[in-house]
């Protein structure tokens, strides 16, 4: 097993061969990937060294201290957090070598073509069809996807589509890597209640995907997609925040700076929410300590539920606290933010954007079912859709 000293020696070699001040950013990032210092827990030859994941922090700190350029992970979050671990787990050697380096470097942005207008919480009911063309062996894809972040900047997509409608819904799905520049891919902005369009609708009309871009076996798509979705939940719940980090910070600051806005009723609500936000912070901290100690607890399933509710209640309180100013909204102009910051704009924006927190990445209702069944061991509701051919399900 590689030690942190050996890793630091590699970092020094990289910095010597590519001095950050003199190297092109992309060249530097490619060299970093090739040196196995991109994500050290990945295998050798794929940007890593098979080292413990915890050693990544050693590399990152050393490179940051040397002023080395980073790969701007927030811009390529879907690729790093969802596409990469799935390709690593299910990709062929050829797919891993073709896709992982430009993904990590940020030369190729990824997006996720999963949700559909008719398949939200019930994702496995998706209707986008992929039909194998006999002569070429290529797949021809038709359908519509929705809530796609980065679709307008993405070069590639992870895509799930139905390849056998005669099978029950979980078994007739196949997972593909889709070229977003291919003919028949149309991306339209999807404007939200905030006025912005963070997301897109993606229309797929006769899109041709070579069989070499299938990830996993035909019909294995649901299993592959679960790997992607597990990584999504980890990345949504896992951020460390300081005291008064998140939504409670701005409203507390307004309370301190604007005594004329204070009322007794708002004071009680503010204190209740301040306490809950602090307890949520401690709960997240406890979860991280459990992970670090190698005793992962089930609390992770719940953190997103807590933050969604708190973000909504706190931002709602902030609009009320502002009084007449709460009647105003900064700007309804349709914009296409590349990076979404939930707390970045005014109180009205925070209030509206937070409505999505209990919907995106698994609705709170579905997450409560997951907690009830997987953590508490309560029985599932009786279902009649699991063993029925997809084509015979009500839509």
């Amino acid at each position: 097993m590689i030690t942190s000293e050996e890793l630091l020696a590699r970092v020094r070699d990289l910095l010597a061969a590519h001095p950050p001040g003199e190297s092109d950013r992309t060249d530097f990032l490619r060299a970093r990937f090739d040196a196995g210092l991109a994500w050290v827990h990945y295998p050798e030859g794929l940007g890593g060294l098979g080292a413990p994941r915890s050693l990544q922090a050693v590399v990152d700190a050393e490179l940051e201290a040397a002023g080395a350029p980073g790969n701007d992970p927030r811009r390529i979050g879907i690729g790093l957090g969802m596409a990469a671990p799935t390709i690593l787990a299910y990709g062929t050697a050829e797919q891993k070598h073709r896709f992982l380096r430009p993904l990590w470097v940020g030369e190729e942005v990824w997006c996720q073509l999963f949700s559909e207008p008719g398949a939200g919480s019930d994702l496995a009911a998706l209707a986008t069809r992929a039909v194998r063309e006999e002569d070429s062996g290529d797949w021809i894809v038709d359908g519509q996807k929705v809530w796609t972040s980065s679709a307008h900047t993405a070069r590639w997509a992870i895509l799930i589509a139905r390849t056998d409608p005669a099978l029950p819904k979980h078994r007739g799905i196949t997972y593909f890597l889709c070229d977003m520049h291919a003919p028949g891919v149309e991306v339209r902005p999807l404007r939200q209640i905030t006025g912005e369009a963070e997301f897109n609708e993606v229309f797929l009309t006769g899109v041709r995907i070579p069989d070499a871009h299938r990830l996993g076996a035909v019909g294995q798509g649901w299993e592959v997609a679960r790997t992607t979705l597990m990584n999504e939940r980890v990345s949504i719940g896992g951020m460390r925040i300081p005291r008064e980090g998140g939504m409670i910070g701005p409203v507390s600051a307004v309370w301190r700076e604007r005594p004329e806005l204070r009322t007794h009723a708002l004071h009680q609500r503010l204190l209740e929410l301040w306490v809950e936000a602090e307890v949520a912070r401690l709960t997240g901290e406890r979860l991280r300590q459990q992970l670090a100690a190698g005793q992962p607890g089930p609390e992770g399933s719940g953190m997103k539920l807590t933050f969604a509710r708190l973000n909504q209640e706190i931002s709602g309180l902030e609009v009320e606290l502002l009084g007449a100013e709460g009647l105003l909204y900064e700007d309804w102009t349709m914009r296409r933010p590349e990076i979404v910051d939930f707390t970045g704009r005014d109180a009205g924006y925070r209030y509206l954007r937070a409505k999505g927190n209990s919907i995106e990445g698994g609705t709170s209702e579905v997450l409560l079912n997951i907690v009830a069944e997987r953590v508490l061991g309560l029985p599932a509701e009786p279902r009649d859709d699991k063993d029925t051919a997809w084509k015979d399900l009500a839509r």
Binding site: R262, W274, T283, Q289, G302, L376, L378
Partner: protein
Amino acid sequence: MTDETERTTPMASHAPFDLLYSETEEELRSAVRALLADRCDAASVLARAETDRPYDPELWSTLAGGIGAAGLLVPEKLGGQGASHREAAVVLEELGRAVAPAPYLTSAVLATEILLGCDTTSAEVAGLLAQVAAGARVCVPAVPLTLAPGAPLPSGVRDAGGGVLTGSAGPVADAVAADVLLVLADTGLYAVPAAAVTLVRAVPLDLTRPLATVELDGATGTRLGDPATARAAVAGALLSGAGLLASEQLGIAQWCLTETVAHVRARHQFNRPVGSFQALKHRLARLWLDVASARAAARAAADALATGSPDAPLTVAVAQAYCSGVAVRAAEECVQLHGGIGMTWEHPAHLYLKRAKADALALGSAGHHRTLVADFAELPSP
């Protein structure tokens, strides 16, 4: 740590708390749990709850002396175990989980902390502390159970001169179990033998923690500290007590959740386990989330107290403001989701509901602790 005037800035970044349980703490938990399973099952708690003395003397002697739980907060050189609030918190979790009638919070936490806040080099303080730490004597502060950190201290007892005390205090928890009472009078803190006072028993909402008014009519006490020392010692003890009460509340909530989940899995109506209905699953999933959060809050308070963190007053106030409500909600859900059986005397759910509701008043209500949060976090009232 116990200075009432100390303030923490809300943004100050102190070392992160250790929010996990150590191996030693888990071993202590197992020992206490095994003892309680053996001597403190629900049926025997219920049977004793209607008698004058709900306590089981054998349980106390094994818990306090045998396991050494009474001396966890006391340094070894003073006759204790030299452990900390973290370990005492684990004991309280288990006592809450078993809704055990034992004068632990009053004697092993509150009175012990008051004695530790006095001059422990004096023979009177050290002698009493050693006996309390060994579990040989039960010592209870003669202050109302509702007395909260940061609230004005009671002044109902006067010294007629030479430690001859007159007045009353109450409702005092566990006074009926006490060998010695710690009495706060105008001239300082006094140890008064239980035999020298009159106890007027009340009918408590929580049958597992008896209440009485302590009446002193010329009782003679031994002075343990001057008024300033006494007030600081009591204030420090109230902070510790409030912080550790959060762990008792966590234990209550955990039992209620576990018991309710087991019930809805087994109970069938409409040809299915009632726990398969989404309306119930969502309620229990939310309750689980509350309990997981209460665990983080209670652990933070215990660790802050154990390490003497400058963050302790805020962290204790946060834990109390949060955990009181969780314990009550868990007990109320337990009663409701058990259906009819949850309303009976026979089922132990009511013992937990009564303890949870009484605990929500003990050592300051959630509302009182929120006002402390307002103070510490600099979020002033209008």
